[in-house]
Symmetry: C2
């Protein structure tokens, strides 16, 4: 078991410590099979996008180099291995309605790895709703009814729960009327329906949508939420099922390793971790990629998977086009705070709660039972009332305990806002930003392709699914361009 330098781990005994054991760390951290100037493709970044791209190019016989700034695979998705238990530091939940991720789970024979985050069989089987209007507990049925009612009002721009305005989640602009909503913020959408909202419903919408966007009501686009809703079949229960119910027993890093191992076994993969990329020069024949420590590699193609919020940290020559530079400078809004707590009472396993808007953490849900038999709860905050969980651990513990009395034996988290290779969590656009920049972000520049869930084509953009989709697409393009068309084809 290796330890990543990333993530934070607190127990009453040890206090707050940097670094977490995880199967996501690869040793040895460098393995260069091919001369530095004989590569077909360099993939920058070993998140799911880069892992998928590198796997698909290497298994197709292309000499592939994977460069990663971190000491581990997975990017914004990785899991701990603390006493064998996978706390998910970032991306977590998957569903068979997410075609790209589920195709991979089924391909790797992992259907038995799916487990429920929810378990309503324990004693503390209720939902705590703590808002400006007071605190009360309700049943999960009441919770679901409240949130479903509220969210349906929020998305119902067409009197058909969004089905008319966005009938194809993977083709979101199919009905061009959807552009009427491209500049709408979450705050503005709430204002449109505020006459029809109870105090509970308004708090429910705000807490839920901020859990999704990681931003503020003002800077979060309504359109992203509409797409999530459409992808989840215009149904609150299905939305929950697809975004926060089913996770992997082996942890996301157990899944990510499958991609990496398959690539490795192809015999065509070289890789280097702890190798952040400084510059990409495609002004000459081959593309040159230079790492911060001065290594230079040449390849026919480059697939850059750096996320939007750190894209400007790489120097491109020729420079990124104007639109990409604008989007990279604007950045997306998701500054999600995700904090895991191991809570002594095993009966908390059936609990969930909202504390909003006064608390630094907005939503909490029981997420598992740890090897010690305690309850694993996970809490989410956002850019509204943001905190850096590592800067003041007492404040972090206080925000957890604001949800109710809990004896916290362990806290685990990753500060994505400070993360130099992410500067945020999954993508959530500002109002207007998606329609203005998405196409530009997807555009290649010569031999450099840009792939990331942040601008994936599909309904599950910002999800692991979008990452795999984007990596798949980039690898296919590269393969088609680097393999000559068969001369015997008669089609």
């Amino acid at each position: 078991m290796h330890r990543s330098r990333e993530g934070w781990h607190w127990t009453p005994g040890t206090g707050l410590q940097a670094g977490i054991p995880t199967i996501a760390v690869v040793e040895p951290s460098h393995m260069i099979r091919n001369p530095k100037d004989s590569l077909d493709v360099i993939v920058i970044g070993a998140g799911y996008t880069g892992l998928t791209a590198a796997r698909d190019t290497s298994t197709a016989g292309l000499r592939t180099l994977l460069l990663e700034g971190r000491d581990r695979i997975g990017g914004r998705t990785w899991s701990s291995d603390i006493d064998g238990y996978p706390y998910e530091m970032g991306g977590t939940w998957v569903h068979w309605f997410q075609p790209h991720v589920y195709r991979e789970l089924s391909r790797y024979g992992m259907k038995d790895q799916l487990v429920h985050s929810t378990d309503y069989s324990k004693k503390h089987n209720f939902f705590t709703f703590k808002t400006a209007a007071g605190t009360r507990n309700m049943s999960h049925e009441e919770e679901d009814a409240l949130f479903a009612r509220a969210i349906e009002k929020f998305v119902n721009v067409d009197g058909n729960l969004g089905r008319t305005i966005m009938p194809f989640p993977f083709n979101a602009y199919w009905n061009e009327d959807v552009f009427k909503y491209s500049n709408l913020s979450v705050a503005e959408r709430i204002a449109q329906i505020s006459h029809d909202l109870s105090s509970d419903e308004r708090h429910a919408i705000e807490a839920f949508v901020l859990l999704c966007s990681g931003g503020t009501r003002e800077n979060s686009a309504f359109l992203d939420f509409l797409r999530w809703w459409a992808a989840a079949n215009y149904d609150y229960k299905t939305l929950l099922d697809t975004i926060i119910v089913f996770k992997l027993k082996c942890g996301q890093s157990g899944f990510a390793r499958r991609f990496f191992e398959e690539a490795l076994i192809s015999g065509n993969l070289s890789y280097s971790f702890n190798a952040p990329v400084a510059a990409v020069d495609s002004s000459k024949g081959l593309v040159e990629v230079r790492t911060k420590d001065g290594q230079r590699f040449l390849a026919k193609k480059v697939i850059c998977t750096a996320p939007l919020n750190v894209l400007e940290n790489i120097e491109f020559n020729p420079p990124l086009d104007q639109a990409k530079r604008e989007a990279a400078a604007l950045k997306h809004v998701n500054q999600c705070v995700k904090v895991h707590a191991e809570v002594k009472d095993p009966e908390m396993r059936s609990w969930s709660g909202v504390t909003y808007p006064h608390n630094k953490l907005v939503i909490g849900v029981a997420d598992g039972t740890t090897p010690a038999g305690k309850t694993h709860c996970v809490f989410f905050g956002c850019d509204a009332n943001h905190m850096h969980a590592d800067e003041d651990i007492d404040q972090t513990l206080g925000a957890i305990k604001e949800f109710g009395p809990m004896e916290v034996d362990r806290v685990v988290f990753h500060n994505w806002s400070k993360d130099e290779f992410a500067k945020g969590a999954w993508v959530w656009y500002r109002p207007g930003m998606e329609v203005q920049y998405l196409e530009a972000l997807r555009r290649r520049q010569g031999s450099v392709l840009f792939a990331n869930s942040d601008w994936a084509a599909g309904g599950w953009r910002s999800f692991i699914d979008g990452a795999i989709q984007s990596g798949t697409e980039a690898a296919l393009t590269v393969r088609q361009e680097l393999r000559p068309v068969s001369r015997t084809s008669h089609l």
Copy 2:
């Protein structure tokens, strides 16, 4: 444009003629790139399973031979090209909730190809319900309400609409209580709930389930329906959306060609159409595949994609194991009759109907508008009250007109029951058969792998999705076995 010898085409002017133009026919029909004894893998069958397998092995650098008995790709799924219009002769509808098929659609950039079969904007916007209890028209809302209510009673074995008994459609035996239903027939399930069914509801269940199974009430397993229902999120509207609403503008053959062309471009694919396989001999070192016309090919591995109902037509040495032979002799029950009609009145575009149990066709739905501006309707029959649509075209026309007054200008169909390479449509097991034989059907025998949607692992077994899943899985196994594990792997 080439013409397949398969399918039937009738117009008032021409009468009934064999053969249909289609882009599924490949010319030249043979292309052998590699010596017959230097193959890595032979894929038997060019349906979606075989196309996926051959694509994945050939693009991974394995010398692949695809052998197909027909003159075309697609197996049980192919589309006409009559005046550029794709009548779907078999498999038709897809959805983004079907992970394997949608991953491929998105990978090939085909999201714009999805079109709605339904269009409720025209004048004849109603549902005809013609049963033993009489005939009446209702609105599509009334139709959906009736079918939803009836089907929910049918599947509700656990008081939770199937969610408890089958929480993971891709892992159908996760809750072992499901085995209680493994021997149940559709007729027996209806008997269990008959006290709670109106005459309308009973007719609705029978017509709908027989549309799905293609069998009879007595020989169709309840368990298959429960899996479809679970895969469609335990919801009637979603079930419709996933099985009969979204199809491809370019026709299924336009999609299937993408797989074939990608394989061809790899430079590693040889193929031979009109080359039915007679025998597979894996008793020696390499596997020998012999075609009916006496050609012999040798390969390290064979992926046999022959469907269940024709598996016994290939001679295996060593012979198929006992369980496979039993299952192949029993056969599955689906003898679906699918007949397309081009109907003069364009206002029929919004129509649907059921005629049951007296008619040879059970369900009809408007499915498109033809290039001539007429309505394309598609009709389904099953093994109960079965007909061979080609044997008595007047009977076929009569069965169509039993749904209501229609001026029929064209009829197009494929007789799957007589098809020597299918002997039926998509898989639907007999009661007890799935649990008894599924595992055995999935089992390899030495270097011979068996892949088909008929025994795919997933929730969409019997769909195009299951075919792609099964082909993906077989190709991955072959690739892993034929490529040596990298010695530099340190994982």
